[in-house]
Amino acid sequence: MVEIEDKLLTHIATLARLSLSKEETHALAQDLREILKYAASLETLDLTGVPPMSHATEGERFRPDEATHDLTHQQALQNAPDQEAGLFRVPQVIGG
């Protein structure tokens, strides 16, 4: 079984875009260890030839690919934390 150390948890937090404090990182590593220990019961099952199940549907049904305008431009922007000239505004993306 994989050893969950704080270093691995920091890597996971980076992937998840969460800036965790040291205390949070440590506590979450502990929780993750406990949960994965519990989930190890799945390793006892013989899964040879068993297909994975991703959905319980009978298959998806798609509507025709036609553009509709359910939301106005203004509605789409009404919850934006920051906007300019009808666009979402974000902090600097590259370098600094």
Partner: protein, 489 residues
Amino acid sequence: MSGLTSMGVSELAAAIKGKKASASEVVDAHLARISEKDGSIGAFLARADETACGEAKEIDARLARGEDPGPLAGVPIAIKDAIHVKGLATTCGSKILKKFATPYDATVIRRLKSAGAIVLGKLNMDEFAMGSSNENSAFGPVRNPWDLTRVPGGSSGGSAAAVCAGFAAMTLGSDTGGSIRQPAAFCGVVGLKPTYGRVSRYGLVAFASSLDQIGPLTHSCADAALSLSVIAGQDVHDATSSPRPLDDYAAAVGQPTKGLRVGVPRDFLKTGVDAFVMAEFDRTIAALKSDGASIVDVSLKNAPHAIATYYLVATAEASSNLARFDGVRYGLRTDSATSRATLKDMYGETRDQGFGPEVKRRIILGTFVLSSGYYDAYYLRAQKVRTLIRRDFEKAFESCDVIATPTTPSPAFKLGEKTANPLEMYLADVFTVPANLAGLPGISVPCGFSAGLPVGLQFVGPAFAETAILRAGSAVERLSDASARRPAL
């Protein structure tokens, strides 16, 4: 007309249509009760008094003109705060969505409004529907109307408490691993999780998209049937909603017990169930047998692996779904203290500030099981076990019409009792999670009481066999007075 707030959906709709009470009287009575009693319960996060009163007047005017405003004309309902109602905020119980103004109605809301139902407000919940006690809400806990020191269950804790307390005749919840059925059991009301695909998810904030389903919480199976007939059906906005025609759900309620084959997975119930809950369950099964049901032994041998499977599958989907909360298009944005902060810094700080501990725990777990090097060992393995769990159900339904279990291993627990141990909290959903993994319909019906606390019995049926579980649920209602009891508030 007295007792309006203790009446169910069908009874209120009939009273309003029969002019025994006006929609305005009904709405006023419920709003007054919320004002009087919700301070000690905490079910509502937002109220819509003004629009509700306006809509009630309109229903009354339409009735006066001889029009038919629909099967739920004037019936007061309230909605879990994960489902969009235009004009009201959708917070999902989270700081990250605190100020989110909803620009459209979910499909279920559109259908309920067309049927004449009146939305009274939005209901408290565990943050992003992650929890089994409602203690993970960023806006405070909900208390169980039967005992204010206990939890109402979760994640639809506000939805269950609101029906139980007489604040609304019907509420909507969402169920990813038991979030309708478990709180329904804890609060002594009926909670129905339809088959995956029976009800459109358009306008429900996604937690785990292959498991989420919207459903009603009510006082009776008849009310659940009527509510389902309004909200169910294919929707162009949800590609997973089924084109299958609806069944006559109302007609299933009250059908005779004779001939009903009830499967009981005894092996699955051997460990971890409270003795009083087990006694109420066994008493109800014996009563069903006396009433003409045949009781069949069935095996769900992989069901004990359902919780582990669920926490790998649901968190993986959640980590992906919750990536959208990044401070760009809506919700909270935390500005960095440094002027050289980049977009990446803003993402990280916003999400760290905006999400509560349980949501972060699940995002981390989900990100881990999907990450390079661990995907096969955890996520893919869990998806294969999911197949085994579904196959167990398919096999079991060859010999029975419904499968019965207690809804929960114990009655409502105390506030704070399980917050220190996430795994222990997860195990509160041991009997409800398998139906979500297999995509099957499930219902929790009150079957008894243990030391003054309600006990729920769950029926799970084959895919799209809502009629079977409603029939079985209504049989339990006839054999027990548990559904008729109301807490003294």
